[in-house]
């Protein structure tokens, strides 16, 4: 029984570990007991190794899957865009136009300024995040199982369950917010917005604290909301997958549960992509608006 718990915990941990490529210092004792003679760039073979690689390491699976999915998205959309005609649309163009119009109406509804960046930004966010989230519906052992058969120690196929991915996008959005805030309102206007409200100029420290929290909360909430939802969803899939090993009754229950959770998850993955997109539009709109 104790051994069973141990393997379940291992199973979960294994599924939550990214495939990390980074540098281990000389003299480091690796997971298999070897001691490194020199600094080595390598793939981490345990969570501890991944952690010890520090900041200068990359999650190969996160980057790989996100780039492949993003490229897939851009490939199909660019293909539709290249052949787009004003005539009767068919097939791919129909589908792409449907999404573009949906995003366009969302942008028109929430964004009052004029900026040619916003709509493509929203489209990229929506489709890319949706595709990354969609990887969650692939049965969780398929690709990692294939990978370990090929000798790859870890594989996490849902990039949005890696905080690096969600924070990466949220930080990019945050920089755009800062850039357009300063571009539209000037440095003085932006600083004024941060320090002169809500309490007027005598409450400057309190203003800065409140507005600073308000500003920082934007990227943090964006990133954590997406990460949290996807991480929790993935965790539930993992827990359901553990049931498969527990005999016929649990296997069947697990099958039903996995199906039900996957159906429910279709809603979540779309919703999270939509929320990320909408909030980005709203934040960009706030950055473009003059308050005073």
């Amino acid at each position: 029984m104790s051994a069973d718990v141990h393997t379940s915990a291992d199973y979960i941990k294994h599924h939550l570990q990214n495939l990390t490529y980074g540098k281990l210092p000389a003299g480091y004792e690796r997971a298999d007991g070897q001691t490194l003679q020199a600094d080595t760039w390598t793939i981490a073979h345990s969570s501890q190794e991944a952690k010890d690689m520090g900041f200068w390491a990359v999650n190969v699976d996160t980057l790989g899957f996100s780039i492949v999915l993003g490229a897939l998205f851009l490939f199909f959309f660019a293909k539709a865009a290249r052949t787009a005609t004003a005539g009767i649309p068919a097939g791919l163009q129909n589908f792409v136009e449907w999404i573009v119009e949906f995003v366009d109406s969302s942008v028109r509804g929430s964004f009052s300024g004029r900026n040619p960046l916003i709509a493509p930004l929203a489209l990229t966010i929506f489709i890319w995040i949706f595709l990354m989230n969609l990887m969650d519906l692939v049965p969780i052992d398929w690709l990692p199982g294939l990978a370990s058969a090929l000798g790859v120690p870890y594989l996490k196929i849902v990039p949005t369950t890696d905080p690096n991915a969600t924070f990466g996008m949220a930080i990019a959005v945050f920089f755009l917010v800062l850039y357009y805030s300063i571009k539209m309102k000037g440095v003085g206007g932006f600083v004024g917005e941060l320090t002169l409200q809500p309490f007027g100029k005598w409450g400057m420290p309190a203003n800065l604290l409140l507005e600073g929290v308000n500003l920082i909360a934007k990227p943090v909430s964006l990133a954590l909301r997406l990460f949290g939802n996807m991480y929790a969803g993935e965790m539930i899939f993992i827990l359901i997958a553990i049931m498969f090993a527990g005999g016929a009754v649990l296997f069947l229950t697990g099958g039903v549960l996995q199906w039900a959770w996957a159906v429910f998850h279709i809603l979540i993955i779309t919703l999270q992509a939509f929320i990320f997109m909408t909030l980005t539009i709203v934040y960009m709109d706030m950055a473009h608006q003059e308050h005073h």
Partner: protein
């Protein structure tokens, strides 16, 4: 689940994707959509115009039909009037001709009567002379009694 370089990599990837989307994906699709919207609007406007023109044409055709009917009625009226006139003219001409012929016939008849009377008178005169000759058993000098005979002839 460590924060590492992936964060920056993801940001850069994201930026590149957004740039690509903004450059090569969004504008052609949106311009195609706009062009189609314009086409549809133009088509609807053309349809409206066509409808209006049809209405106009219908009204015009009704008008010209009405006009043609009126004209036809006028022509028929005129023709009838003209026919009546011609008939009247013909009637009066026939009457004049008839009168003329009647007059001529009358004149001829009168002439005939006159001639007949003349010849009758001649014959009567001759008969009278002959009778008188017989009565008198002598020759009447026609030359000597010419005046007398003439007077008798005129009395007849």
């Amino acid at each position: 689940m460590n924060i590492n370089l992936t964060l920056i990599g993801q940001s850069i990837t994201f930026a590149i994707f957004v740039w690509f989307c903004m450059k090569f994906v969004w504008p052609p699709i949106v311009s195609a959509l706009d062009a189609r919207r314009k086409q549809i609007a133009d088509g609807l406007a053309a349809a409206d115009r066509g409808k209006h023109e049809l209405e106009l044409a219908a009204r015009k055709s009704a008008e010209s039909l009405h006009e043609a009917k009126q004209k036809a009625a006028d022509i028929i009226g005129q023709a009838e009037k003209r026919a009546a006139q011609i008939i009247d003219e013909a009637k009066s001409a026939a009457k004049v001709e008839g009168d003329r012929q009647i007059a001529a016939a009358q004149a001829e008849i009168d002439q005939e009567i006159h001639r007949a009377r003349e010849s009758l008178r001649e014959q009567v005169a001759t008969l009278v002379v002959a009778g008188a000759e017989k009565v008198l058993r002598r020759e009447v000098d026609a030359k000597a009694h010419g005046d007398l005979l003439e007077a008798i002839k005129n009395e007849l």
